[in-house]
């Protein structure tokens, strides 16, 4: 299933085009393209040049620090790392299950985070592309353009995100990098006052989520075939699933389906993930390439995140999201929806589900319960898996008899989507860059494909149009023949 564009046969004979820095994913990324003499794209690679070192430097730290320490990996979705590490340390302290209060408050925290993260991604980062067009003037194609042209949409985006952040603050103490989840449970439940505060606006959040979904569908259907085909690739998909097949973000087994929707595995215990997921290394990338071991490296790569989750689940437990899922699945005509831009659609179905699920949870009396924590006998290892906003997130730790971490392994969502993002930019490069003179609009096509997967990549890329970028075109001898530069202030200039 891997495309032929990963490695060109005679790279030394080709023009090398570099987009760098592409973005900041807790570091930097770049795209390199090789064009043959006939201007056809012969090689396209996405490089995430990040090196965070978390797996190494948390070795030697005590296990009880992990949920708070490891969440510093990210400022956009730290709750994901907070909860994945908390689930792993639940195992370490021998808490085989949480109290109802602890589990529901963690779920509430996670719904709040997914809501704010998805709102950020759609309204702030992607709506300029989707509403104005990928080739709109760069000076207008940003969140300021949205504020000027559609102030009500921008306002809804800001307030949806604010609401999600408030859910996080109330459940974890802070909007970013809180401390709510601890090994074996949580450190506080909610008060009736806090619940009433969150209940005050949740109806509006559901309505705005519906509105965002309808807006996205309208845009998608206006140029249906274009959006369906843009950067689309055939892939396996993996996600967490509830025991009854329902959509699940917090706890459940893992389900993987192939490009035709046939089961690869189902309800797999995530604690044994290393028996069916492996990672490969390529000499041109700092990021690993995970794959389903039974299918091998060539055919076993997969996609995670909203597209995979909505395709894979049998149903949503909330009514509005379930109706939206049925409509989405219908465009697949019996097969999984493989459209890369379908990520946006699926993401907004999840946004709606999160708002509905928060409303449901806020009526649950367990939120004010006093049983916060379960403890058992200390274990030597723990694995926590969660569906982060961008996809499946694995945390695995081993400790010694003193409680000190001796081994840590993290497979983050971006890593799971590594091969898929590479495949998508190859598709885009082939579709839209082949033989063309370089323009900012063409450059943006590559970014649009990447943005669809992961706001960790795209947030800086689209930070109000301020992502600095340089696109170089070289001839066969490596001589620079063309260069476009996008400056931090958003201005584009041809510098040669």
């Amino acid at each position: 299933m891997t495309s032929a564009l990963e490695t060109a046969d005679n790279p030394q004979d080709m023009k090398r085009i570099v987009i760098e820095p592409l973005t900041r994913v807790e570091g930097h990324g770049k795209v390199t393209l090789l064009q043959g003499s006939n201007r056809s794209i012969q090689q396209a690679r996405l490089h995430i040049t990040e090196f965070r070192g978390f797996e190494k430097f948390i070795q030697g730290r005590p296990y009880w620090e992990l949920p708070v320490l490891v969440q510093r990996l990210c400022g956009i979705c730290p709750v994901s790392h907070h909860l994945a590490a908390a689930k792993a340390t639940d195992m370490i302290v021998g808490a085989s299950e949480l109290t109802p209060t602890a589990e529901k408050i963690r779920r509430l925290m996670h719904f709040g985070q997914t809501l704010q993260s998805h709102a950020l991604h759609f309204f702030h980062l992607c709506s300029p592309d989707l509403l104005f067009g990928f080739d709109d003037d760069i000076r207008h194609r940003n969140i300021v353009g949205i504020i000027e042209d559609s102030p009500e949409i921008a306002r809804q985006g800001v307030l949806l995100r604010k609401y999600g952040q408030e859910v996080i603050r109330i459940t974890s103490g802070k909007r970013i990098h809180g401390t709510g989840a601890i090994p074996g449970g949580i450190n506080k439940s909610l008060t009736q006052k806090e619940i009433r505060y969150l209940q005050g606006d949740i109806g509006q959040m559901i309505a705005w989520s519906q509105g965002a979904l309808e807006l996205l569908k309208k845009v998608f259907f206006e140029h249906y075939n274009y959006h369906l085909g843009f950067g689309s690739i055939e892939s396996n998909m993996m996600s967490m699933i509830r025991a009854d097949g329902a959509f699940e973000l917090y706890h459940g087994g893992l389900r993987a389906r192939d490009r035709n929707g046939e089961s690869i595995f189902d309800h797999n215990d995530y604690r044994n993930y290393d028996q069916y997921i492996r990672e490969s290394v390529k000499d041109w990338s700092y990021m690993k390439f995970p794959f389903i071991s039974a299918l091998g490296q060539e055919n076993g790569w997969y996609r995670v995140g909203p597209l995979a989750r909505v395709n894979n689940c049998d149903f949503f437990s909330t009514p509005l999201a379930e109706e939206a899922r049925k409509e989405f699945i219908a465009i697949g005509d019996g097969k999984p929806v493989q459209s890369t831009l379908g990520y946006h659609w699926a993401r907004l179905i999840e946004l709606l589900h999160c708002a509905e699920a928060i409303a449901e949870l806020l009526g649950d009396r367990d939120l004010v319960g006093k049983e916060l924590r379960n403890m058992g006998n200390l274990q030597s290892s723990g694995t926590g898996v969660i569906e982060a906003p961008r996809g499946t997130l694995f945390h695995h730790y081993e400790i010694d008899e003193l409680g000190i971490v001796t081994k840590a392994s993290l497979i983050v969502s971006t890593t799971n989507n590594n091969q898929a993002m590479n495949e998508s930019i190859r598709k885009v490069a082939n579709q839209y860059l082949d033989g063309h003179r370089l323009t900012e609009a063409l450059l943006n096509q590559v970014e649009v494909a990447i943005r669809a997967y992961d706001p960790c990549l795209s947030c800086a890329t689209h930070a109000i149009g301020k992502m600095p970028m340089e696109l170089n075109l070289c001839d066969d001898d490596g001589e620079l023949i063309d260069r476009l530069e996008k400056r931090a202030d958003g201005r584009i200039s041809r510098t040669i």
Binding site: G60, P62, E65, P67, V68, G180, N187, L402, G403, I404
Partner: protein
């Protein structure tokens, strides 16, 4: 306690008893003087110098300075706060005080005093010393990164617990806390989680194991009110039952 003797601090008359220090008299009168190595329940040590005040034009350590009539004490001018802030900045860059990941954050006296002196940055270049942890004890953990060598654990273990588990070894920048055990490990010493010395660390250097962030944000000692209002952690721990100890200062 009644007394006719007073000194003046920031324009207020502070009563004191014969033999009482400026620090103790001020705290008793409800006036906060920042401090780290001092605890009202234990004899003064005068090592951190954060309690520096200006007395009749001289910089003096208020926790060891015996109060006297006619003293004019400056505890709150910008000049004296600048001195304290500089001392704190040096403490911060000398160790590795990563508050965001520290269990003590919000309960930490060093952090709270830094806020009190309006410290907004470390100012000096970080040393980033390579320091480790000692997890060898079954119930307690020692974090070398966070130790500010205040000596409280040394004094309390020696004078209250009668164990002398801790000592400060080395000189100058090479000074470090050491443990009285054959291996040099805390786990091989006589230290116990029930010792008074286990409760006196003003920072996050000595903490119980298997406990992390159980006190929610918003409920920690300094989350809502400054240290000048709520006092310090150690005094809180001992407020109900003052510890009477012997030692070289008595």
């Amino acid at each position: 306690m009644s007394t006719d003797k007073t000194f003046r601090m920031d324009g207020k008359a502070i009563p004191f008893e014969a033999g009482e220090t400026v620090m103790d008299a001020a705290l008793r009168a409800g006036e906060y003087i920042p401090h780290l190595c001092h605890n009202p329940n234990f004899p003064p040590h005068g090592s951190c110098r954060v309690c520096v005040v200006d007395v009749n034009g001289k910089h003096m350590c208020s926790c060891t300075l015996e109060a006297a009539e006619h003293m004019e004490v400056d505890n709150s001018s910008d000049a004296i706060i600048d001195k304290r802030r500089t001392l704190l900045q040096m403490l911060f860059v000398e160790g590795n005080h990563t508050c965001p990941a520290c269990e003590k954050s919000g309960d930490c006296q060093l952090q709270a005093v830094a806020y009190h002196t309006r410290m907004l940055s470390p100012h000096f270049t970080h040393f980033f010393p390579k320091r480790s942890i000692d997890p060898s004890h079954p119930d307690m953990m020692f974090y070398y990164n966070r130790c500010i060598l205040c000596g409280l654990c040394v004094r309390v273990s020696r004078d209250v617990d009668k164990k002398s588990v801790f000592a400060i070894s080395g000189r100058g920048i090479d000074s470090r806390l050491v443990f009285n055990s054959p291996s040099g490990k805390l786990g091989d010493s006589d230290f116990s989680a029930t010792d008074e010395a286990a409760k006196v660390c003003p920072v996050g250097a000595i903490l119980p194991k298997h406990v992390g962030y159980e006190t929610p944000i918003g409920q920690r000692l300094y989350d809502n009110k400054p240290i000048s209002v709520v006092g310090d952690t150690i005094a809180k721990n001992h407020s109900e039952k003052p510890v009477v100890i012997g030692g070289p200062h008595e």
